[in-house]
């Protein structure tokens, strides 16, 4: 119980910072939007190829925006000795991890809703299988946020953090990119049972990522 309460405390703090500073709303979200537009230019706004490539493009845009959200989540801990505050707060490392990852996940969900609408409108995608789409998005986002949070704290305080985190995160979340893209593609094509198989993979990855984060975060936070 303490674990959940502490995690909610940390997540609430991070989300409150985002609500007040509006960096997520005014920078990360528009960034995701422009990436969606750029992909249309890359494929020559072709009405036949855009819908078929839409799941992959959507998740690539989410992944790129997620890198910004991860970076942001650890930038806010840098000013005013906030990291020392966290370390001295007496909160368990695992719950700090869960809180920070949850805050990133919530931001990414909102981003996915907006980008999803953009993809439907701009790429001319017909929506099918809403339930499996939402489940896939939830499982993928948790895995993404958890992996990103682990690497975020891993690179905390290093001088090349901003450039290092994307290089570390992207190869590690290959299963998320692959699974989420295939789940979305299968769902949109109407093969729901295949989509559910991918949701299982995404859920398994997310579980592993969360477990790794809960174990590793405490020692890493002490160190940085």
């Amino acid at each position: 119980m303490m674990f959940v309460r502490d995690a909610l405390l940390v997540a609430g703090k991070d989300l409150r910072i985002e609500r007040r500073s509006r960096v997520a709303l005014q920078q990360i979200l528009p960034f995701g939007g422009i990436v969606i537009v750029m992909f249309a230019f890359a494929l020559d706004a072709d009405r036949t190829s855009l819908p078929s490539a839409a799941p992959g493009l959507f998740w690539a845009a989410v992944l790129l925006a997620a890198l910004l959200a991860i970076g942001r989540s650890f930038t806010v801990e840098e000013a005013n000795g906030a990291r020392d505050g966290l370390r001295l707060s007496g909160l368990d490392g695992g719950s700090i991890f869960a809180g920070k990852a949850a805050a990133i996940a919530v931001e990414l969900f909102l981003l996915e809703v907006v980008l999803g609408v953009a993809v439907v409108v701009l790429y001319g995608v017909a929506l099918h299988g809403a339930v499996v789409l939402v489940c896939a998005a939830v499982a993928a986002t948790i895995g993404l946020a958890a992996t990103g949070t682990v690497y975020g704290v891993l690179a905390t305080g290093l001088r090349a953090r901003d450039t290092l985190v994307p290089l570390l995160v992207l190869p590690a979340v290959t299963p998320v990119m692959l699974g989420a893209t295939r789940a979305f593609a299968a769902a949109l094509e109407g093969s729901t049972s295949e989509a559910w198989q991918w949701v299982q993979l995404l859920a398994a990855f997310s579980l592993l990522a969360v477990a790794a984060g809960v174990m590793a975060f405490g020692p890493l936070l002490e160190e940085s």
Binding site: Y151, L164, L167, L201, L208, S224
Partner: protein, 241 residues
């Protein structure tokens, strides 16, 4: 005598590699289907073996560093040295495989599970090597890098599993079919096994040299800090010159 001891390992590696080259180029026969292109096998397979061996050693060294009872600075340096060698050989494996694929499969690259996983592994460990070079102190670096190495090591099978699944669900009939995989026997098998042995020696040699350099670098840093402190003390007139 010391000269012999100093160069014996390196010389043995050179001889082993030279024998491998002779076996691969002249002794082993060419393939019925692939012709001379099959000789790339003797470079490609040992390189891939070294890549996996190197990352395994990195993971083991990282665990040894993380367990307080076995923690030594050497484990951290060994993990780094082995990962660097592993990255080089992963790159070599990919490049050689690509060169081999062109004449044999008619394509430079195939999104096969094994190839894709190896490419992702290459990037995972490039990230790890980059993390090692971000100028934290030795103690800080140890824990971060050990955990990063273990995450990367655990991620490779997961990536392989998901890519494999992607293949079975979506793509059928890749160029990796059984007819093109030559059955190996006789002098080809011997050459391959010898090559793996020679490359393992090379790996050991490279890692030991890299480890030695890393240890010297650490020592150099310590000595420079000591020198700077001594200079400062002299400047402050605490210690007479």
């Amino acid at each position: 005598m010391t000269l012999v001891r100093k160069y014996a390992f390196g010389a043995a590696v050179l001889v082993a590699l030279a024998v491998t080259a002779v076996l691969a180029l002249f002794v082993s026969p060419d393939d019925a289907v692939q012709g001379d292109a099959v000789r790339l096998l003797y470079l490609h397979v040992p390189s891939a073996w070294i890549a996996y061996l190197a990352f395994f050693v990195t993971a083991v060294a990282s665990v040894l560093w993380l367990v307080p009872r076995t923690r030594r600075p050497t484990w951290d340096l060994l993990a780094g040295a082995s990962a660097e060698v592993g990255v080089i050989f992963t790159g070599l494996t990919l490049a050689l495989g690509s060169l081999w694929g062109r004449p044999v499969w008619g394509t430079w690259w195939e999104w096969d599970a094994r190839l894709t996983t190896t490419a992702i592994m290459f990037f995972l460990y490039l990230g790890y090597v980059a993390l090692r070079r971000t100028g934290a102190t030795a103690d800080e670096r140890g824990k971060r890098c050990a955990i990063a190495a273990l995450i990367a090591f655990a991620d490779v099978p997961i990536v392989h599993f998901s890519v494999n699944w992607w293949q079975t669900l979506h793509q059928t009939g890749t160029v990796f079919n059984e007819e093109l995989n030559p059955t190996i026997h006789g002098s080809m098998a011997f050459t391959l096994v010898f090559g793996v042995g020679a490359f393992t020696l090379l790996y050991g040699y490279l890692v030991l040299r890299r480890l030695r350099i890393a240890e010297l670098e650490e020592g150099l840093e310590e000595r420079e800090v000591e020198r700077a402190i001594a200079e400062r003390l002299r400047a402050e007139q605490v210690v007479p010159a």
